[in-house]
Symmetry: C3
Subunit: 346 residues, 3 copies
């Protein structure tokens, strides 16, 4: 489909600078923009590209003042990033989704599907499963017995949900993600052997959660492991048994939260981060990459770094010291000699 | 099923304090206990909950002395944690397991299944595969040619075993785990291109191993990558080619062991830990989270921290120093000025 | 098949020391060599094993001078490691590969397969997919609509490729790997909720790439996430949206590259490494394990360590200082007292 700059500007309430009749049919990055595409400029790092981009239309913040001529038609808006996001959402929603049930697939007689399902080939839907409306279940997905899934969910290929877990509305599970595997719980025996502690609970995802590729959420030993409304987990995130992650908290890849820990809402955790078990982390806490929380965090909104985690500013100051340690050691050696001399010992 | 406090107490050899006729049919956590459930108190952190828990029965250590009245029936035992574990195991064993072969599944004519198998739909069992008794193979599992699997194993949905690997008795492979993928071996060429070194070995799991969701064990270049008896790996653990992990060693999530390293028995590795290739790690070694071993560890039972790893006590002392580095640098600057003055240079 | 030492020596242009008629039919590691196998000695760490190995033939560097008698027939070559690699490649190529289409599998009417395909049971090939010659698609593989795959590729069980991605020639995707999952992109709303930014791009793998088990490559928001020719990724590697990884770069397990970062060619990244988003990393950069790059790296070929990353030599010197921090603090305390005395303040 083609859209004119004029049509786009109306959709996102923007002001046109340039030819309003130029048309676009795709999006592109400003640094490798192509004719017939729309791009955007939000991060100042990329400003240099706007003068030479071959994109036909560029959405810019209305605070942007070009230093020389821009070939592309510009659409000036309050927030270029959210405007392009809005356009992309509209575009994505216009794409038709698959519906129907491909064969062979396995749907238990006791399972119930809502309206307009898509069930891909080799998908497995177990006994007493309940599935809402407009749910897309891609090929090779596994849904265990007694699982319940809300409306408008997407389960990408090879996602696996163990028995008795609960998925809310508007949730997205990416390929290879696992919901409800056993928590890592063992009782040590006298001979060094470990005995498995059965994990009898489940996992509950509230509405609007998204779970990245190959991410894994363990079921609770008793009760539920819970992702509250709006939680977003990147690929390769490990959520251990009985963890609770608060509303709208986002966690980047290669991160883990150990058993029974409760994470507040609106937290933002970078990549390769971790939290030890049985802790509480306050709302709005942020962690830089490779940060490992080893104690309760009571201060809301604090930014942490390091392992064990300390406040980011303190970490940065200490890191400067770490880099200067060889010089500091030399200074101290020199001082020791000088003091010795001053004391008349040499 | 319902059980009375009296019946439970007999099963775990405990002493009843309170109403022995109250019945339970489920387990719960003490902090959100519900009537009709049994809970336990082992970690002193949770002691405060026992006075108000709504659980009908609570198992406690016989050293526990309540400071005020406890509503629930208490069962006093030597070790509350292992008693609840024992009860949960009994409960788990009473649950019927699925048996039979769902359709469509793929079982090679040359494969042999033991007694009482469960083979889920879309499971694949290759040529010359040998499977023991009471094995559960969930949907979408892949078992390559010439694989051998012992008795009482559980292969959860989407577990994948490459050809020629060997799985012992009583092993559990969680969803999405991979056994026998190629080791990461390449020979560098003059032009910067890498040539693949074929990985001709396999992976051997001895009895009683458990492998977490999406964990991956690479096959040996030659010979075998080995998990000895009783090894427990959490989700997202990477075991490289030709590694050997000793008996009853447990490794937490997001951890990796590089090629040809030999890990001793009874080791305990925290999350995000790692061991460099071609090393030996002694028995009973423990690593805190984010610890990275870069040299042989000869001292049995040592607790390590940091990257590169050092003894945990030394790490903690140095970490205190790290946090104080800004002050230390300031002290040294002051000292330098004072010494200069004392030397009459200012 | 059996080969004589003489035949082997001819294949790898080596010089025989010992019985040229002894035969081998398998490979083994020198430390547990078995009669009838060929082994090799390249790493000096393993020299001690050559005198007692039971392997029938051992390939050695022609610089190797035995200190005492070696029982095995030796084949002396310029580079023992590349010679054994060459032999293993020949051996691997002699093994027949499966061909044909197992049932049930799902192949769209609009998909096109090349010559000599293997399509395992429960594999899914979507609409308008184009697949080259000699491609092996193992069971439970998912190939989304409009995907294109070159010649001689191997897709191991449970590999998943989302729609519209492009795979070059001679690529290997290991079990559970995911290509084309959504990038982790969300626009924050005023109420703390995040809105998904549709990920409309794809992933492109050029020729000769290998992707480890359970590794995940996210599709671009716009444009393409790209692995250039010859890139090798270990298990559990996370490549975020719009990343570009340069030719022949290799990345070890548990590592991640964040969004829009461009990695140069011939880089070597150790395990548990990471790179922050929107950066450029020069050609030939090396990272030790647990290194985290937080800024652009302009110096080609540099070896980095630490988080945030600094040059490895500087890191090592500072790490020595870190370990000595308790002593350093003590020295400074002593100096302070001594200077106080010298100043007559005590």
């Amino acid at each position: 489909m083609e859209f004119s700059a004029k049509q786009i500007a109306e959709l996102i309430d923007g002001e046109i600078v340039g030819n309003q009749d130029v048309t676009i049919s795709d999006v592109s990055k400003i640094e490798d923009g192509k004719p017939g595409t729309i791009s955007f400029l939000a991060n100042p790092k990329y400003t240099k590209y706007i003068y030479d981009t071959r994109a036909s239309v560029v959405i810019v913040n209305n605070t942007f003042e070009p230093e020389r001529e821009v070939q592309a038609t510009m659409i000036r808006v309050e927030d270029a990033y959210s405007s392009i996001a809005k356009l992309m959402q509209m575009y994505a929603e216009m794409k038709p989704r698959k519906t129907g049930i491909e064969q062979p697939s396995f749907i238990s007689d006791t399972a119930s599907l809502g309206d307009f399902p898509y069930v891909g080939a080799f998908a497995y839907i177990g006994d007493h499963v309940k599935i809402g409306n407009n749910v897309s279940i891609f090929p090779n997905v596994y849904i265990g017995d007694h699982v319940s899934i809300g409306d408008n969910c997407i389960l990408y290929p090879g996602a696996k949900i163990y028995n008795s877990c609960v998925i809310g509305n508007n949730c997205i599970l990416h390929a290879g993600s696992v919901v409800g595997s056993d928590g890592f719980g063992f009782a040590p025996g006298a001979d060094g052997e470990f005995t498995k502690i059965p994990q009898l609970g489940n996992v509950v995802l509230e509405d609007n959660c998204e779970i990245g590729a190959n991410t894994a959420l363990d079921r609770a030993t008793m009760g539920s492991t819970v992702l509250k409304r709006g939680v977003k987990l990147d690929n390769f995130v490990q959520i251990a048994h009985n963890v609770e992650v608060g509303e709208n908290t986002v966690i980047a890849a290669m991160s883990g939260v150990a058993g029974s820990t409760v994470i507040g809402k609106n937290c933002m955790f970078g990549g390769h981060t971790g939290v030890v078990g049985h802790l509480k982390v306050a709302d709005g806490v942020k962690m830089g990459a490779y940060t490992g929380i080893g104690n309760n965090v009571k201060k809301e909104g604090v930014l942490l770094r390091g392992t064990p985690a300390i406040e980011a500013k303190a970490f940065s100051r200490s890191w400067v010291g770490f880099k200067n340690l060889p010089d500091l050691m030399k200074d101290v050696r020199t001082l020791k000699q000088e003091v010795k001399k001053l004391k008349g010992e040499e």
